[in-house]
Symmetry: C2
Subunit: 252 residues, 2 copies
């Protein structure tokens, strides 16, 4: 287990609307779940404002220490959309209109009022970039090196993820098994720690809740090794049972 | 305007459950909205795993360059709750049981099975810390220097924010005005940029959507100066009207 290569990705969520609380982010969880299926672990996320310096700092910190870096937001046609320029600045390259993106936008806007200069801003990419297909709304995403630049609107992001599915090298997907118990997690804290310690390569998360007037907790067992995860769940279930707690398979 | 002091905060969301996609974070938006009322701007957010090195790095980067640093998550009784130890390590101080937190937990658990060693883990704080009251579930939050350590469960976080309301120095709250238009934002991109440029101290965000078969956008005008925000909204409304677009007050 410990010699298995872990592929990691980071995500930068770009947008004042997230930091102001106006908009509830949906992209962290959707990208995390998608990455997991690709066998890639989301290792860290940063949310930064629509400011070039902040984006540049985050891009350069995260692209260096992860296999992949994703960004969401800031690739529209308006003055607050500065992601492309910031990424080009981070990489020390210029910005150019990508001919295929221009063609896509001209076709998309042919029946929608024409490809104006503002709209063609969405064809601008850092020099040397490739495109990520966007079947939802014309303006493509961008791939340059290990950086994937995607839309902020979640259903458009989802379409771009679809276009990338199966194209990125990863390891084994992490499998996740959940069991639940009507118990205060503090009553079984030692037991959880001991079972985790006995299963190297497995992480157990404990997620308490209060529902129907009672205290409970779900325990999430995660590992790239499905057999190991199952063995850990079996051991945890047995240990909880020995203490007199009834375990609900699949969680509560 | 440009000489008005801006108070900033950063937030570190600590938890594998966010990075795995299992749990949808709610704390970024709730803390952002609460901070705004305190006259403090949420400047950056990082989501990090339950790993001490990752937490220490984020704590030391963010506490130095913001007035305040908030963390959520990892302060429960189980083995995966390492926030207190990580913050103590970041600050280079030890960890101690806070006598008042011990008393709170002993009282809380008196009728709930007793204050076991695992439960008293929740009374551990970095040396020299103060407590943040938690009326929801006993275990308090922690304040040390400019760092505020809070629960990850959103309704408990909310209670801790209540306890802090009005206690932090800030500036003027940013006011936010929204107007909407049934227009593709790309048709008015130049107009938006020009109106923003004409109103120093105001930021205009453009948020497109597709609804009822039509394309629209909301334009969010933000400034700590309410008069300036109103003037900008008036100018933007007039400029859109001149182009023949009907503006919906308060947004669509």
């Amino acid at each position: 287990m410990q010699h298995e290569r872990i592929w990691t990705a980071a995500l930068i969520v770009i947008g004042d609307e997230i930091l102001s609380g106006r908009t509830q982010d949906k992209n962290v969880s959707q990208i995390a779940l998608w990455l997991n299926v690709q066998g890639i672990r989301l290792a860290e996320v940063r949310v930064v404002p629509d400011m070039q310096d902040a984006i540049v700092e985050a891009v350069n910190a995260l692209r260096a220490r992860n296999d992949y870096l994703f960004t969401t937001g800031g690739i529209g046609p308006t003055h607050d959309d500065i992601t492309v320029d910031a990424i080009a600045a981070a990489l020390g390259v210029g910005v150019e209109h990508h001919p295929k993106a221009v063609a896509v936008l001209e076709r998309y806007y042919a029946t929608r009022g024409g490809a104006t200069e503002a709209r063609l801003r969405m064809a601008r990419v850092p020099e040397g970039a490739d495109l990520i297909e966007n079947r939802m709304s014309g303006a493509p995403g961008i791939r340059i090196g290990n950086i994937f630049v995607m839309a902020g609107v979640p259903h458009i992001t989802a379409g771009m993820l679809d276009a990338l599915t199966g194209t990125l090298e990863g390891g084994r997907p992490v499998v996740s098994r959940t069991i639940g118990c009507w118990v205060a997690e503090s009553e079984v804290a030692d037991l959880l720690g001991a079972v985790e310690k006995a299963h190297a390569g497995v992480a157990i998360g404990s997620y308490p809740f209060f529902r129907e007037g009672r205290t409970g907790a779900n325990f999430v067992v995660r590992s790239p090794d499905a057999g190991l995860a199952d063995a850990c769940v079996a051991a945890l279930t047995a240990a909880l049972g020995d203490k007199g707690y009834q375990v609900v398979a699949e969680g509560i």
